[in-house]
Every structure is written in C-alpha cells, then in structure tokens.
C-alpha cells in the first residue's frame, strides 16, 4: 500500500503525524478495516475524501457507550442462584447448569448480533480488545448475567477512561469470580488477582516483585460478591486492615489504593499502548512511538479517545497494510458484513468461531487470545478455507466435506451478484485485499470474488 501524500518520509521527519491531504481509498480502507470490521466499498469511498484527522474524529465521535441490540430478558434477573449450592438437589443443579449453558449461547448470539449490525464497529472492536485484556470466561464464571454486566462495563469505557475501567474491573463480579478475588481472605490471601492485575492488566511481567504481589493480595482481601444476586460485596471482617508495602510505599492500603499505585507507574501506559499497537498497527511495536503515545496517554489522564486518535493518525499506522492477521471474529463478522449476509441463526457462527479459536466470552486463559500469527495453524487455516469455500461455493463437494456437521446444512449464502454490481473487479481487489494479489485472478464477475476470498491475503488486514 502507498503512504498517503502527507506521510512521505520527508514530511514524516518534519511534520509528524498531522497531515492535510485526503486519505484516499487504500488508507480509508486500512482505517475502517483495522478500527472496525471489513468496511463496505461505499464507506471506503466516503472516508477516502476526508483528511486523516477529520476521518478519525468522525469515527471516534460516533461511538456509543451502550449496545443497540436488545439483550436477552434474563440479564435483569436479580436472583443469580441460591446462596448455598448445597441447598440444591442434583436435579436442580443439573437444571441450573443447563440454564447457564443455554444462556451462554444467547449471550454470545447477542454480542455477535451487535457486532454484525452496529453502526460503530470501532466500539465493538474496542470492547473486544478490552475483553481480551481484562479477561474473564464463562468457563469459570458460569453465570452469564455476570459476563453480560462485565461486557456492559467494557463497552461503557471502551473509548472512555482506562483508570475508571481498571477500578471498575477490580470490583467487577465476573472478575472477582474469575480470578478468585471473591475468595481472597485475610490470613492466607489468594494471590491470583493481585498477580494478574500487575502482570497482564497494567505493568507487564518483570516490573514487580513476588513480595509486591503478596502485599497487594492483602489489600484486595474482603472484596467479594453476594452469591445470590451477584453484586459486589465488601466483607470488612475478611479485609486485612494492616499496613502493606507495595512498590516501596507503605500504608493501610485497600484495593483502590493499589489500583492507584499501578496507575501512577509509567510502565502501565507503555504496556497498554504496546498491546493496542499489536492489535491495531503491527506485530512489531516501535519503541519510540510507544513512549510518545504512552506519555500522551498519561498526560490525558488515561482518556482513551485521544490515544486512539494519535494511533490512527500515526505514520506507522498507514505503512502497515497486510501486517496483521485477521482474528476469527474479524474474518467471520467482517465477511458477513461485507457481503451483507443476515444470518437467520447465529449458532453455526458461534460454533465456527470456537473452532477457529475465538469463542467470545470464553478466552482460553487469563492472558487472552495471543492473536497475530498464532491465529493461523494447520487446523485453523484449513477451517478458515472451508468456511470461505463453503460461503462462496467455490467447491461444494470438497469444501464442505470436512466442515463440522452443524455447519453443513443451510449455511449462510451471500448475494455475490449484487456485490459484483456495486463493486466490480478493480474495486473488489482494492476492497477485499490489503495487499495486491499476485497473480491477479483471471476473468470477472462473481468468480473473481471467490478467488479473492480464497487468496491468502484475505486472511490479513
């Protein structure tokens, strides 16, 4: 991809990231696809006319803090489960498990519906990013209501404030279950949350000691939940009120104090910016740029929008086409949006994303999906190909032969002819691939669309 006129190397040295020329097609595509999911040709054309600053503020301005899709009714149930599981007989327990499983599916359907239909793909992409940063999973949390409430928090602060989000997450009931905070008591504290909040949520590995973890775990004791309604509950008798020493500072710290100590450390902004860089720019963060953006992030009191604006107008961003691998959600949601497929039933999509390694609401562990090249291994690559082959009916006999049985019947069918009318060959090549195909597929019409979707570059963004 070409750089926009404004970030030619000379201008890059002199002027930094701001620039006055319009984005053009390739950069508009990059901005929309990276910040959200695959953009439609008409949206690319629309943004191509805008200068980068204008385009980015338009994207950021149009970011809602609540989902437009109506959630399942049960999310408002105040009764989560009986206070004591011991009071339930085996049949009741089985029934509760069945209900949790069913609701877990409905919850995933709700979020995927939002991703497929949202007018602000950026909001959903950021929500997914934070889900993969502040990881919790249905596998352990069990109660889908709690995962829903966490998702609401993640979306509310998706482009809000990182400090508020971190304080919110530390008291979030799903997180308190997931990292055992709810069981963290004075005397023999459970270190799980204290460790991961430092290693994975703020500082990064190597910037704290084992003693810091042990002391911080004491500060979080007593932060628990009410098991009946799933609300945060402070249990003063389980809280260790004694003096603690964390990062060389001593005091009668509670959890919020420790969070503030973490936010005061410069490593936190650098750690989060590095992760955002890997998600939105390239697998190889530029350390000088990370430092610049991290300083901006701290100067802006951890407001997320100014940081994202700086990231999406940086020269490195517009020089990175084809360097990132599409996640399963990027691939499946993006393709269905691009070709205007309105799935009558989302369960095949849930199942496919799980097979491809990205089951939303159930990341593999507290570090989340590693992403990048690791999305592609022999198993997932062949499933990605089968999904696309099936969708584009490139090979009806063989393409579907290895698909999981649930995906074989009545899978989604895109209207390729109308896409081809709106965006014929030359347009489609630019709209669908981040790098030019080599060789360019022969012929034209819908056969070209199939060939482009099956090009290895379609797996990149």
């Amino acid at each position: 991809m070409r750089y926009p006129a404004c970030v030619f190397p000379l201008a890059l040295l002199l002027a930094g990231p701001t620039c006055a020329a319009p984005l053009g097609d390739a950069n508009a595509r990059l901005l929309l696809n990276r910040s959200g999911f695959d953009a439609l040709p008409v949206q690319i054309a629309d943004y191509a006319k805008l200068e980068p600053d204008v385009a980015v503020s338009r994207l950021l301005k149009a970011s809602p803090t609540v989902a437009q899709t109506t959630p399942p009714e049960w999310v408002n149930d105040t009764q989560l489960r009986p206070a004591r599981l011991k009071d339930m007989n085996p049949d009741e327990k089985r029934e509760l498990q069945k209900q949790f499983r069913q609701r877990g599916i409905e919850l995933r359907e709700w979020w995927l519906t939002e991703m497929l239909s949202t007018p602000s793909p950026l909001t959903e992409h950021m929500t997914l990013f934070w889900h993969n940063h502040f990881v919790s999973s249905l596998e352990k949390v069990k109660a889908p209501q709690l995962m829903y409430r966490q998702n609401v928090l993640l979306r509310r602060e998706a482009l809000g404030n990182f400090g508020r989000l971190l304080h919110g997450i530390a008291r979030d009931p799903a997180m308190l279950v997931y990292l055992d905070g709810a069981r963290n008591q004075k005397g023999q504290p459970n270190e799980n949350f204290a460790r991961e909040v430092m290693e994975l949520f703020t500082l990064g590995e190597g910037h704290y000691t084992e003693a810091d973890i042990r002391e911080a775990a004491r500060a979080f004791t007593g932060w628990s939940i009410n098991p009946e309604n799933g609300e945060f509950l402070y249990r003063p008798r389980q809280h260790d009120d004694g003096s603690k020493t964390v990062f060389g500072k001593s005091g009668h710290f509670d959890g919020d104090d420790v969070i503030d100590l973490l936010l005061a450390r410069p490593e936190t902004a650098e750690f989060v910016v590095t992760k955002l860089w890997r998600e939105f720019v390239s697998p190889e963060p530029d350390s000088a740029e990370v430092k610049r953006l991290a300083k901006l992030f701290r100067d802006q009191q951890y407001e997320i929008k100014p940081l994202m604006a700086a990231l999406f107008t940086s020269p490195a961003f517009y020089a990175s086409a084809g360097q990132l691998t599409k996640s399963p959600v990027d691939l499946t949601v993006g393709t269905l949006r691009e070709f205007d497929v309105q799935p009558p039933d989302l369960r095949p999509l849930l199942f496919l994303n799980r097979q491809l390694g990205q089951d939303v609401f159930a990341p593999p562990n507290v570090k989340g999906w590693p992403g990048g090249e690791s999305w592609i291994n022999s198993q997932t690559l062949s499933l990605r190909q089968q999904f696309l082959a099936r969708l584009f009916r490139a090979d009806t006999e063989e393409g579907g032969a290895m698909l999981p049985p649930r995906m074989k019947r009545g899978f989604y069918e895109p209207d390729l002819a109308s896409f081809n009318d709106r965006c014929p060959k030359a347009c489609a090549i630019k709209a669908l691939l981040p790098l030019p195909p080599d060789p360019v597929p022969e012929g034209d019409g819908t056969a070209v669309l199939r060939a482009l979707a099956l090009d290895a570059r379609y797996q990149l963004k």
Binding site: D180, N190, E199, P283, G322, L324, P370, S378, Q379, Q386
Partner: protein, 387 residues
C-alpha cells in the same frame, strides 16, 4: 508397488479387521524405512500440583502445610517408604510394576518465574530465566539436525492450538479429531510480502504435506481409549501415528491444573485422566509396535506453593514432579524428594534442571549432537534409559 492406502483397502476387503499388531505396523510402514524414535511430550497446562501428585506421605510438614487438601497417608498408592501416588492414578501402577515408569522429583530451574506465561515460555524455549528466545527448543533441535526426508511432520500437536516447543519454524501440524484436509487456497509459490503472509504460506505447505500422509479413514485398532477429553487426545494421536509413523514428536496437552480454589475435585479428575491416558498410550504404542522406541515425558510451567491457601487451593510455585515412561525407561524414583523444611519464599527448591530431562529424552531419540546448541548449554542426561 502397493502404497499404504492400498494396504488398508486390501485389509478391509479381506475382512481382516483384527490384524496382529506386528503385521499391522509392518504393513503400515510399507516399503519405507522403519520410523525413528518417537518423543511424546505431555503438557500439564496450568501448573500441576506435584506435592499432591507424588505425595510425601511420611513427612509431617506436608500435613502441617496442607491441613485441608493433603492426601491422607492411608489413601496414597505407596511407591516407596516416603513417596506415594495420588489415589486417582491407579492406572499407572502396571507401568510402575513393570519398572517402566520413572518419576523425576524436584524438576525446575534457577531464578524461577511464577507467571504462567513467562514460565511456560522458559520451558518451551529452554531458555535461562532472564533470557528471551522466540523459537521452541525442538525447533532448534530439528534445525541443527533435521529428521530424515521421509518424515511427515516434525511434530503433531493435539489438545492445544499452541505450538509450544515446536514454535518458530518446525514443521508442526495441529490435529483435532480428523479434520485434516488439504485446503483449497490457490497460492503455490507466491512471494511473501509481509511476515504474516509468509506464515500463512508456510502453514499451508506443512498442511498439504501432512494431509497427503494422513489421508484416509482411521485405522481399526484393538486398543480401547478412555472416553474423557484426554483419552480422546491420546486416541487422535495414536490413530495418526498408525496411519503414518514418520513423525518426530507428539505434543499432547491436558489443561486445567491452575487450581487456586477447591483443588481436590479438579485435580482428582485430571490426574485420573492423565494416568488412564498414559496407560492407553502404552497399549496403543505396543499395538503399533512402537512402545520400545518411544519415550514419553510430562512437563508444566511450574509446580504449586507448598502451603495451601485459604480457598482450598494452591497458588503458583516452582519445582515439580514429572513422569518419564516408555519401553526403554528404567522405572524408579529420581531427582530430589521435596525438602519441605528448606523452602524459599514458601516454594520448593529445584534439584533437577528441566533441560536435563529434555537432554535425557531428546538425546535418547536423536543423539547428543544437536542438544547443546538447542538447550543453550550442556546438560547432563539422567540415567533413566536402559539403552
């Protein structure tokens, strides 16, 4: 010349469902050279609690450190006057009695890291604690000393999508049930423009090779595999091996060992799966006539804290116990029994460097030549192989 698929067809036509193991294995390897030795790595993901796996049941400190979750003395399966197996592992006893199960205690490394992610990276890359490497240790072994040209894949991976010790260049193929296929991408020898594109093209090529070699229906085996998750993992691996034995490594993962809370029930279930899975591996490999040229070893990012926490679980720890088994293994207890009177920040000190375990297994499979560069130094083998 008859190829492998013809052999299978012929078998089916003649109704020879139950070929004898030897004949079966010989038929499968066809006219090709005999496969080399096989390394099977079993990852106990999450950090298995070694103290409740091989229990120091004669040690009063153990019961003092774990008032709620200790395994009672009269419950353990006694291996010696001080060590006993967790009672869920009865399926391992025949291997122990056959003197083919080595138990290596106190496996770890200097300056231990208690992060799951950093510590498994250290194990997977065989690095020092303060050294950051990007290639798996087996990738480095096979770069130094490539496997024979008829090798289908350097490694098959079952039970996890992560390449672990095979990351960064080895020809590794992730198996899940029988979902291998050749894929439909038309992209022969296109020039790679970005590292991400180069990666996809490489995976496609490995996939094509493995798909060709592992095509066809699952062979009929006499071995019964357990129904649980790890049993299925073992079944997938053994069936792939039955189709084509020219594989260097199998890496199988059993996950769920991060037992911070209510450890007992979870670990009980996982250790049962592990023991039954190992027993099924022994049966399956014996049927394929591969047991005597296979070495199996377990590994994990770390063991767990010596003392239990207040939630009936254990937090992250350091040194751990691991199993080594195979037809050529000299069974018994190796390494250092846990020294509970001499803990460091509540954690066990290590007695055996994990790279010694790697050197023992990989050195037996492929010789010592490639080991020093791959392991970043010379590590003394443990004397637990017969030949």
């Amino acid at each position: 010349m008859m190829n492998r698929r013809d052999v299978l067809k012929l078998g089916a036509m003649a109704g020879l469902v139950a070929l004898s193991p030897t004949v079966f294995a010989a038929a499968l390897s066809g006219s090709d050279a005999k496969p080399g030795r096989l390394l099977i790595l079993i990852e106990l993901k999450g950090g298995n609690d070694g103290l409740n796996t091989v229990v120091p049941y004669a040690n009063a400190s153990y019961y003092a450190l774990r008032p709620k979750i200790a395994v009672a003395r009269d419950q353990v399966l006694q291996l010696s006057d001080h060590a006993g197996l967790h009672p869920a592992m009865t399926a391992l006893l025949p291997l122990w009695q056959a003197n083919q199960l080595a138990i290596v205690q106190g496996v770890g490394y200097p300056e231990p890291n208690l992060s799951h992610f950093r510590s498994i990276e250290i194990w997977d890359t065989a690095s020092a604690s303060d050294e950051y490497l990007h290639e798996g240790w087996l990738t480095r072994v096979f770069r130094q000393q490539p496997l024979p040209s008829n090798t289908l894949a350097d490694g098959l991976i079952v039970g996890s999508p992560e390449l672990g010790p095979l990351a960064g260049g080895a020809r590794a193929v992730v198996l899940s049930g029988n979902n291998l296929n050749g894929g439909g991408m038309q992209m022969a020898q296109q020039a790679a423009r970005t590292p991400a594109l180069a990666h996809i093209l490489k995976v496609q090529q490995d996939l094509n090779v493995a798909a060709t070699g592992l095509a066809g229906p699952a062979p009929q085996l006499n071995t019964t595999f357990p129904e649980h998750g790890f049993g299925k993992t073992v079944k997938t691996a053994v069936e792939a091996l039955a189709k084509n034995g020219h594989i260097g490594v199998l890496r199988l993962t059993l996950a769920g060992f991060d037992t911070h809370v209510n450890q007992q029930a979870t670990q009980q279930r996982l250790l049962k799966e592990l023991a039954e899975g190992l027993a099924a591996l022994q049966t399956g490999l014996t049927e394929l006539n591969r047991w005597n040229d296979t070495v199996i070893t377990s590994y994990a990012e770390f063991g767990r804290r010596a003392a239990e926490n207040k939630s009936g679980g254990t937090d992250h720890g350091t040194a751990n116990v691991h199993f080594v088994t195979g037809g050529a293994v000299k069974g018994g207890l190796y390494g250092g029994a846990p020294d509970l009177a001499n803990l460091e920040n509540g954690n066990l000190k290590y007695a055996i460097d994990f790279r010694q375990v790697y050197a023992t297994a990989a050195g037996w499979c492929w010789g010592d030549a490639a080991l020093s560069p791959a392991l970043g130094g010379s590590y003394r083998r443990l004397e637990l192989m017969r030949v």
